[in-house]
Amino acid sequence: MADTPTVPPAPAKKTNRLGLEVAPYRGGRTTLCAGCGHNAISERIVESFWEMGVDGSQVIKLSGIGCSSKSPAYFLGTSHGFNAVHGRMPSVATGAILANKTLIAIGVSGDGDTGAIGIGQFVHLMRRNVPMIYIIEDNGCYGLTKGQFSPTADVGSTLKNGVVNDLPPLDTCVMAIELGATFVARSFSGDKKQLSAILKAAIAHRGTAMIDVLSPCVTFNDHSGSTKSYAYVKEHDEVLGEISFVPFFDDIAVEYEPGTTKEVTLHDGSRLYLKKVAEEYDPTDKLKALRVLHETARRGEYATGVLYVEPDRDDFTTLLNTIDEPLATLPLDKVRPPKAALDEIMESLR
């Protein structure tokens, strides 16, 4: 009898703290162009939600309209999703969160979706500090409608056909900080490590976490006249510091030296460590954050990293002082006052 060949044991599949592999965190197959920055961002979202061990059934993903806004179909396949209308995802997200504040919400928008048609709703989402992660996949152009300028396109940048943009750009990070968002970051779809750390910290944050991610459009806006091309962003990325994030359930020693590191404790006890590189950067100082953004913009650079954090401000549902349970599923006796209440009202009207 021949020896049965021994099969080496398959390496144990990696699982997260829920015992899940990464697969359930993926979504449908992308229909975006190969190489589109948005796909890289989806990858980071998959990775960070998996690593954080978030239960997909407790996540909602929302978006507006655009290539970027299609992407929620490509991550977190076990989560409910809502692809809203152009520019109006913030209101839909707000309603959903009011209905069930125990959910984790992630919204994906484009720079056109947010900066043009949706700028009004963006403003009010930020000022309400609605607890959600709001990602702008920022390519400086309209992808889905084939390459027109968006409001984040820089002065002097050109379309593929050479048309020059002569209007100043909106800086969504400056706006978000001014308007009241309590977590504001900028990153680059090509910077895996930074974007992952920012996303994980955003998941732990309670309040609006606004992340502007430079995400080159390889089809319409990756040419030499663009300031949102891969080459340009890579060369002009002014990293504010290295970011390390430690979720509340992990207890690992942090290698950062005191004195060069700023530690921020987030709402749920997670910690965000920011190692200063270029200069003294304090992400809890609003004025400094704005100053850095203005200065880098003047130099034609992008400051990336966590720009601003304010972990303690009340979010919108706290302000509204709603009951702890989700409003959506309250039983009848909680939502219909007793007969005595109606009798009392009727009496007052006689």
Partner: protein
């Protein structure tokens, strides 16, 4: 005591030989912002407390202060609560409109007026009662700054004396109005008594109008439609409200906030079982409703026509992605600002199909404050049962005016949450479940909500198949639209059914809806008693129309569709939905001047079209104010 005013006795016509009891209208013409609302509410309430059926209508300009405003109270022993066009007793306090107001009266009307206005000379066929308001208010209200507000209570006193409205009831109503504000009670009581005393001593009764006690209001309530709707929403278990201010809808969420703070907040923890957000605009408010409805909440907004226009894109998404939500449209005159403080039924057609592509929405058509209350509950149930938006089409007349009603009943039925997928159903359906699959043949699929642990799906406006997956396949799209049509067909059996009232042998059928109801009811009585014309009547209470609507049209030779818009919008909807061969039966009675429709106008118009009566001379409308915009 001042000496009797000789001028009164010189009036051209003498004391009326007959008595008109509990069947006349009083109109108070004041300046917007002069605080007359309190005096008017005390007046209507005291008549109501005497057991006499009443209704009150405010005609006010789109302005905060300074422009003319009118409040009309109709006392009707027969219980007619629609508008009566003719004014019997005018209280003329506004110099700007006094002349025009007096000239528009029917012969024999009584005019109580501010003496310096000197109106008596205008006409010889009216009865004039001059009252020196300023002289009377000075001694009862030493603080000159408050006089403007207290002054109006004097006409209540005068009316109490002239019309024999019980002063004790006036005082009771006044105390109810001011509650614990002792100083206000004292000042206003002083003015009320001063008015009464002056009339008693100086104004001999010339007119035939009397209020006498009746027993027709026992146990009834007085309420505005928007407050009734707010109550209905609270009882329906609304949890998320997003709104944006617009006349005439704002008082709905504002009243709702008051009620919810009191009755839906935990006394101990102070925590609310609701979230009410004043959104940044109507687009955001409907967006929040969609988000909340999708996430499983009972969500609503309220607005008027301009808001519905802005909600259009989201409305189509809600229809196609099948998201529940309730929208109250308190209709007003359009377009855009239009006459924002005047009433109309002008949003029917656009709202029925609002959005692009193939869309149809469920409309509920309340006619009374009672229906504002009950249909609010219907709306939430239907929205969840059919996973779609439900529009409740109220109007300014109903929403912002005071109506008498039976008290509202405490709802006994549980909340109907529709086809929410549960573990058992999932087990039964197995792979049969798909978010947009019609497993029961009624067009209504099973839905899941975020966080419920059931299978997730991706809601979107883009093409999708029965499983909710992105699809641009022609057969997927068509099948979806056909199912949505089937769902709408199913809704016919679940929406509030029409109410019919037929007269034996009537060839004429009248179809009306909403606030036109009261004018039609009264008009039918006029047609029968004055002209011997028999009519049958069907009040449509919802869209889609039930089969009864079609049967009613088939049963009658001619169908008069009565509505408050220019373009016969309901008639168009009937034409679209009912068989084409019925179309030749329809005629229209249309009313669209911004004032609530009245019975006499309906009667005259219908008779004229029947060829039974020569055209009545159309009287000029008494109200010309309402300048300014919002």
């Amino acid at each position: 005591m001042p000496v009797p005013n000789a001028a009164v006795q010189e009036t051209a016509i003498g004391p009326s030989p007959h008595r008109v009891v509990n069947d006349f209208s009083i109109q108070v013409a004041t300046v917007n912002g002069s605080g007359s609302q309190t005096a008017n509410l005390v007046l209507i309430r005291s008549i109501f407390q005497m057991g006499v059926p009443v209704s009150g209508k405010n005609m006010f300009p789109s302005n905060i202060a300074g422009l003319p405003t009118w409040y009309t109270i109709r006392a009707s022993k027969d219980g007619y609560i629609g508008r009566k066009k003719e004014i019997d007793v005018l209280v003329a306090m506004n110099p700007e409109t006094a002349k025009e107001d007096v000239l528009s009266l029917e012969s024999g009307a009584a005019v109580i007026y501010d003496e310096p206005l000197n109106l008596k000379a205008l006409r010889a066929d009216l009865l004039f009662y001059p009252v020196p308001f300023d002289k009377l208010v000075a001694p009862v209200c030493p603080d000159a700054k408050l006089r403007r507000l207290v002054r109006n209570m004097i006409y209540d006193g005068v009316l109490s004396c002239l019309l024999k409205i019980d002063m004790a009831q006036m005082e009771k109503a006044l105390r109810k109005q001011f509650g614990k504000k002792a100083k206000a009670v004292e000042l206003n009581l002083g003015a009320l008594t001063a008015g009464y005393g002056y009339a008693e001593a100086n104004l001999p009764k010339q007119d035939p109008f009397y209020i006498e006690p009746m027993d027709q209001t026992a146990g009834k309530i007085l309420i505005e439609g928007n407050a009734a709707a707010a109550l209905g929403c609270m009882m329906a278990g609304v949890t998320v409200v997003a709104w944006y201010p617009i006349t005439p809808s704002s008082s709905l969420p504002e009243t709702l906030i008051d009620y919810m703070r009191k009755y839906r907040t935990d006394k101990e923890t102070g925590k609310a079982t609701f979230a009410i957000v004043q959104a940044e605009d109507e687009i955001a408010s409907i967006g929040m409703v969609l988000g909340a409805g999708w996430a499983g909440a009972r969500a609503m907004t309220s607005t008027a026509g301009p808001g519905v226009s802005l909600m259009s894109e989201f409305a189509g998404l809600a229809y196609y992605a099948e998201v529940p939500g309730v929208v109250f449209d308190i209709q007003r005159v359009g377009p855009s600002t239009g006459l924002p403080t005047r009433t109309a039924q002008g949003d029917i057609l656009t709202t029925a199909v609002v959005s692009h592509g193939d869309t149809k929405h469920i409309l509920l058509l309340p006619a009374s404050v009672g229906e504002c209350y009950s249909m609010a509950m219907d709306a939430f149930d239907l929205a969840e049962q059919f996973q779609t938006l439900v529009f409740v089409m109220s109007d300014l007349d109903l929403g912002m005016n005071t109506w008498m009603s039976d008290p509202f009943e405490y709802p006994t039925r549980p909340l109907s949450r529709g086809k929410l997928l549960d573990a058992e159903t999932l087990e039964r359906l197995g792979t049969e479940w798909g978010r947009y699959r019609d497993v029961d043949g009624d067009g209504i699929p099973y839905r899941t909500i975020p966080g419920d642990g059931m299978p997730a799906y991706f809601a979107r406006g883009s093409g999708h198949n029965e499983r909710g997956q992105y699809s641009e396949r022609p057969d997927d799209y068509q099948r979806n639209l056909e199912r949505l049509a089937r769902k709408f067909e199913t809704a016919k059996r679940f929406v509030p059914q029409p109410e019919a009232s037929e007269q034996e042998g009537a060839e004429i059928g009248i179809i009306a809806y909403g606030t036109s109801h009261f004018a039609v009811m009264e008009s039918r009585d006029q047609l029968l008693s004055e002209y011997g014309v028999k009519t049958s009547y069907l009040r449509v209470r919802a869209y889609p129309f039930g089969d009864e609507v079609r049967a009613f049209v088939e049963r009658h030779k001619r169908i008069y569709v009565v509505e408050q818009n220019r373009d016969a919008q309901m008639r168009s909807l009937l034409k679209i939905d009912l068989p084409a061969d019925l179309a030749s039966k329809y005629r229209s009675v249309l009313h669209f001047n911004g004032l609530p429709i009245d019975a006499r106008s309906v009667t005259d118009d219908l008779l004229e079209q029947e060829g039974a009566k020569p055209a009545a001379p159309k009287k000029a409308v008494a109200f010309s104010g309402g300048l300014g915009g919002e």
